[in-house]
């Protein structure tokens, strides 16, 4: 007599998932002074804003899971968002077999296990995309916050460079700055 039986297989897995996103762009630094002097000014300005100098001469600041790296020599800015999570997933499947026909219990169990592996992989893939979305969202948000700051840095470096250039040209008689319009007037006696 044929007897049916049901197999329930549960699989769980824990994986450490990582996701990241980054953009790389170039700062528009005017060549008012020689490149090395412009790089020094940029470095000083970045230091004031919490950037730390690295061994390779680049300036780095960590804002939570985000990293902003500036190469003062080339003006290259890299903003990187990295996020990681340890995710546990569980999957369960049931299968029915018969003791006299069809696959044996072992092969049925193996087949269900394979299916569960695929289920788990899919679940982790979904988690990976979620994590990726999170990293990208963080990066996008951070970029809009960072943009005014970077503009300020570039403006400040330009102002400082102009002042230095004026000093090199002659005696600076008067410097007037208008914060609202962003204009800078330097009177130099040559």
């Amino acid at each position: 007599m044929s007897r049916a039986y049901r197999i329930t297989v549960k699989e769980s897995d824990t994986r450490h998932l990582k996701a990241g996103d980054e953009i790389c762009t170039q700062l528009e630094i005017l060549e008012i002074l020689p490149p090395e002097d412009m790089a020094t000014l940029l470095k000083e300005e970045l230091k004031k804003r919490g950037f730390e100098e690295q061994g390779d001469g680049t300036m780095l600041r960590k804002d939570g899971e985000l990293t902003v790296k500036v190469d003062p020599c080339s003006g290259e800015v890299t903003v990187k968002a990295e996020t990681e999570e340890t995710v546990s997933q569980e999957a369960k499947r049931e299968a029915t077999g018969f003791n006299d026909v069809g696959p044996s219990e072992k092969s049925l169990r193996d087949r269900v296990k394979d299916q569960l592996k695929t289920d788990l992989d899919k679940k982790f893939e979904q988690e990976q995309s979620r994590l990726q979305g999170k990293a990208t969202e963080q990066l996008e948000k951070h970029l809009s916050d960072l943009q005014p700051e970077i503009s300020e840095v570039v403006n400040q470096v330009t102002r400082d460079a102009l002042k230095q250039k004026a000093q090199q040209m002659g005696t600076v008689k008067e410097i007037s700055e208008d914060a609202e319009s962003g204009s800078l007037t330097i009177k130099v006696e040559v």
Binding site: D21, I23, T25, E140, I150
Partner: protein, 390 residues
């Protein structure tokens, strides 16, 4: 400049020549490849098989020679050789039509065996589905052979199967003319490795390139205008990367060979595009959906889409160099000619507009939310220009 006498014409036959079915197909395929036979019928012939005879009759070979000689010359003349233009010869500008500027022995096209072998192979085999090997060693090809293979590639590339089969062959894969006209069709994936463009600026190849300048300008302008209709992000990235790599390598080789006049089409293409201010939407407006999940990939695709405007940076450097060449310096005549080309194309204005379009894509630049931010998808249209296709 002295002109050499034209070679004697062979005697004309008394009546139509007799050719076999295979030879008839071969001649029709040849005529299709040089643009003298309807494309749909030509494609069918290339995709069909015909039993290959042991050899071709003398009459058929004569007809092949005659077609190659007349059609290739006619193509070059129509595309630009007829123009009373100015190009550099040994560092000095020379004005005139190509037959006034270049002596006959420098512009006589010589086709070699690989061309006939290719035609026989394309007639006998289904080009898109054959195991019969055919290829030509690029080093053994004459400038005329390369020119013919480019025409053949250009005629067949509309069919994806044929394109896929041909671009794997060395005769096409390393053909600089193929790369300078349709780099997007030369690659399979993201990796774009253009061939060495240096030979293109020497001897007869340079003369062919002179003749093709208006044709190249026309093609690139059309290709740029059609980019706004590309919906697939991956395709846009691949095409843009290939274009960027090809144009960069081409401009580098042109500069090294001191033939900046042969890069005139890049300048003219940009001038034709930037008759008004353009935003990146002109190129990326057709991209569907929000694109790849990573911002880095989206930005990469959008940057790739603007491969042609990004070349203006190189041309600006050339212009600055030309401005610094003094009357007694070497290359004064060439620099004067470049400056005249730059002026004629409103180079400074074009470069400023191209620069502005490229800048709009860059994050961390300018006021917040200005222009098209890289963070958005291709659907964004901040301020659609009048000539935006999106």
């Amino acid at each position: 400049m002295t002109r050499a006498a034209a070679p004697p014409r062979p005697p004309e036959p008394d009546g139509p020549r007799q050719v076999s079915k295979f030879e008839f197909n071969l001649l029709r395929i040849l005529r299709f490849m040089v643009g003298h036979f309807p494309a749909d019928q030509g494609m069918q012939l290339v995709r069909a098989t015909v039993t290959r005879p042991e050899c071709l009759s003398a009459g058929a070979v004569d007809l092949v020679k005659d077609t190659l000689a007349k059609a290739c010359v006619l193509f070059l003349v129509k595309q630009g050789a007829w123009r009373n233009d100015k190009y550099l010869r040994e560092g000095n500008p020379v004005q005139g039509r190509v037959w006034d500027r270049v002596p006959l022995d420098e512009r006589s096209l010589t086709f070699s065996r690989p061309v006939l072998e290719f035609l026989q192979w394309a007639t006998a085999e289904k080009v898109n589905d054959t195991k019969a090997p055919w290829d030509a060693a690029p080093k053994g090809l004459t400038p005329a052979d390369e020119f013919f293979f480019w025409l053949a590639f250009d005629a067949t590339r509309a069919d994806p199967d044929l394109l896929n089969a041909l671009r794997r062959k060395d005769a096409f894969r390393t053909n600089p003319l193929c790369w300078v006209t349709c780099p997007g069709d030369m690659i399979d994936g993201d990796d774009a490795t253009p061939p060495d463009f240096a030979p293109l600026f020497e001897g007869q190849r340079a003369v062919i390139l002179e003749c093709l300048q208006p044709h190249l300008t026309h093609r690139w302008v059309r290709s740029e205008r059609m980019k706004g209709q590309i919906g697939d992000w991956k395709r846009m990235r691949q095409q843009g990367r290939a274009e960027f790599a090809a144009l960069q390598a081409f401009l580098k080789a042109a500069h090294a060979a001191k033939r900046t006049d042969l890069a005139r089409f890049v300048l003219k293409t940009n001038a034709a595009l930037f008759t008004s201010e353009l935003t990146p939407v002109f190129w990326t407006g057709g991209l569907q959906g929000s694109g790849p999940p990573r911002l880095a990939d989206r930005l990469d695709t959008q940057r790739a889409a603007l491969a042609v405007p990004r070349q203006m940076e190189v041309l600006e450097v050339w212009q600055r160099e030309a401005l610094n060449v003094g009357y007694f310096d070497e290359g004064y005549q060439a620099s004067q000619m470049w400056k005249a080309d730059w002026e004629a194309a409103s180079g400074t204005r074009t470069a400023a507009r191209a620069h502005a379009a490229v800048e709009m894509l860059e994050p961390l630049r300018g006021p917040v939310n200005s222009g098209q931010s890289a963070t958005g998808g291709g659907q964004q249209s901040p301020e659609a220009p009048a000539d935006s296709p999106g």
